[in-house]
Amino acid sequence: MSENILEVRDLVKHYPVTQGVVFKKTVGQVKAVDGVSFGLRAGETLGVVGESGCGKSTLARVLMNLEKPTAGSVVYKGQDISKLSGGALRRLRRQIQLVMQDPYTSLNPRMTVGDLIGEPFEIHPEVAPRGSRRAKVRELLDLVGLNPEHINRYPHQFSGGQRQRIGIARALALRPEVIVCDEPVSALDVSIQAQVMNLLEKLQSELGLSYIFIAHDLSVVRHLSDRVAVMYLGKIVEIGTEDEIYERPTHPYTQALLSAVPVPDPTQRNNKTIIRLTGDVPSPISPPSGCRFRTRCWKAQEVCAEQVPLLEIRRDSDHPSACHFAERREIVATHEV
């Protein structure tokens, strides 16, 4: 449980902003992911939270090597994924799979469930010989709580939650060790969301999977994660165990984010202080100098504009926090009911 199965070091992904049609010139960079480092331990769930545009989905794409990083490395068991290509990459892909957000668009409507879940076997025939594939698909359907008899149905015959189960079954087909879940439950209704989250937990304990769980919903992330990384404008601002982040956050952004989550308990209405952030997230094309959060931060000083705060353990923080003035603050609504 302590060995890092996946190491991400100084990962950077910039997208060029271009102008002109014939003579394209690059006029800027969208700094979607800008220097992200973390490790994923075997069997754990690392939650990644942040608001839209903070780079969490780009992170997922780079981790999967669907996009080449601009700089930095993603090392899986000693191998740098971003340097691999061809057969070596294909072999490695077996180990890391992705579950996507939208179960409506991520499944090909013209393929039956059997074909959808069996498709990974076409690319990796060594996993299941042709004759045993249907049986394997049935097993997978059963594993994710779908009726194996429905193997010949099409995606439109399933509800959103069931489709997400199909997506999960497909990700499991090659028996990966790591699954990157990019907002897997945000398109689902509350009652269905809970079913899928329970399924993900069950699969993890049965198959010993490691998850990178990306979501914007802080309660969902807390429920599933062992450790949590909070992202803002392409950088991790705070990382720690689920308790450290949710009970003892030290970065002002994490504190504000947590305070803004509505608590489903009307009696807490007047007991909580919401830290109100003003304004919007700045553009990732020209992020603020120094600390990227300083334009919305109530603690900002001159030093924040000059120096980029490093993600490190600080005096008043028992876990890495990228704030010059990291300190604990009692803000989260009380935990005693």
Binding site: E51, S52, S159, G160, G161, Q162, D189, V190, S191, I192, Q193, A194, Q195, M197, N198, E201, H216, L218, S219, V220, R222, H223, E242, Y246, A256, L257, L258, A260, V261, P262, V263, P264, D265, P266, T267, Q268, R269, I274, R276, L277, G279, D280, V281, V332, A333, T334, H335, V337
Partner: protein, 347 residues
């Protein structure tokens, strides 16, 4: 102002406190079906709720429960076909809007009842400036001149706290961020000072920090204007923060209606109980989430008896036979469950 349609009402803007009787807005046994090629989907099967001035009614439900269709029917923006109103009434100040002429309804829209939508980007017209779209209402409905309308529109933008409202007047919707677009839409819907505001998932597309800003803004504007508000949402967290009363919808019916505190403290319908149990809470890290098993019903083929019975942990034979009516189970609360009494009286 709105004297044409509220002639029998006392001083407009007084919040209706002096109104003799009757509700501000009342939906009564509304029934809507969608006639499609594949069959008839019974989307709304007898919905009854009301909202009074200064009050926030939250309509809570999952996708397909009919909460948005009810709102569209109130506004008169239901797509017909495929949607058809097959019964019921929508009364605004006691007048049945479903039996009004198109012209009469049009007059209520905006001044009587206004609506804000989930997705501001598709609700705003991309080829006109935000300012123009707000000012247009003052010109068409109030007969103001261009300059005066512009002034009023800028005031509105100011009220919803858009920084540099004057400079933003000539921006197009795509130049606004998500939160600002939502603010612009709120400005637009409040421009004619409506008595009821229907907010259909106003913050679902927004991030939490922005969501908090928008909900605050709505609450503040509502207090100032003593508007009645119908907040349509699936988010039990948002509801707990702002609602006065809650109506829970399932398969086109209200299954429970209660004061916000009562509903969370002691839900009187197994569906509400299931919903509350299945939210992962920030302040509780449990082992397994309790879930509601199964799926919402197919609206073309709603199960006989209580529509929730196939998923209900408490279902008895009677639940498969008789549709439970929405009955009073306490002061100001109602539940459509055969066993509501037992649920309310449990310790």
């Amino acid at each position: 102002m709105s004297d044409i349609l509220v002639s029998e009402q006392s001083a407009p803007g007084s919040g209706g406190s002096g109104r003799p009787s009757g509700r501000l807005l009342e939906v009564d046994d509304l029934r809507v079906e969608f006639r499609t090629r594949d069959g008839v989907a019974k989307v709304i099967n007898g919905v009854t709720y009301h909202v009074d001035a200064g009050e926030t009614l939250a309509v809570l439900g999952e996708s397909g429960s009919g909460k948005s269709v009810t709102a569209q029917t109130i506004m008169g923006i239901l797509d017909t076909p495929p949607g058809f109103v097959t019964g019921g009434h929508v009364r605004f100040h006691g007048k049945d809007m479903l039996r009004m002429s198109a012209e009469e309804r049009r007059r209520i829209r905006g001044e009587g009842i206004a609506m804000i939508f989930q997705d501001a980007l598709s609700a705003l017209n991309p080829v006109f400036t935000v300012g123009f779209q707000i000012a247009e209402q003052f010109r068409v409905r109030r007969g103001l001149g261009r300059a005066e309308a512009k002034k009023r529109a800028i005031e509105m933008l100011d009220q919803v706290k858009i920084p540099n409202a004057k400079g933003r007047f000539n921006n197009y919707p795509h130049q606004f961020s998500g939160g600002m677009r939502q603010r612009a839409m709120i400005a637009m819907s409040l421009a004619l000072d409506p008595e009821v505001l229907i907010a259909d998932e106003p913050t679902t597309a927004l991030d939490v920090t922005v969501q908090a800003q928008i909900m605050d803004l709505l609450a503040e504007l509502q207090r100032e204007r003593q508007m009645g508000m119908i907040l349509i949402t699936h988010d039990l967290g948002v509801v707990a923060d702002v609602a006065d009363r809650i109506a829970v919808m399932y398969a086109g019916r209200i299954v429970e209606e209660a004061d916000v505190y009562d509903l969370y403290a002691k839900p009187a319908h197994p569906y509400t109980m299931g919903l509350i149990d299945s939210i992962p809470r920030l302040d509780e890290k449990g082992q397994q989430l309790r879930t509601i098993k199964g799926l919402p019903p197919n609206l073309m083929n709603i199960p006989p008896g209580c529509p929730f019975n196939p998923r209900c942990p408490m279902a008895q034979p009677v639940c498969r036979e008789k549709v439970p009516p929405l009955l009073q189970v306490g002061p100001a609360r109602a539940s459509a469950c055969h066993f509501a009494e037992e649920l309310v009286n449990r310790v």
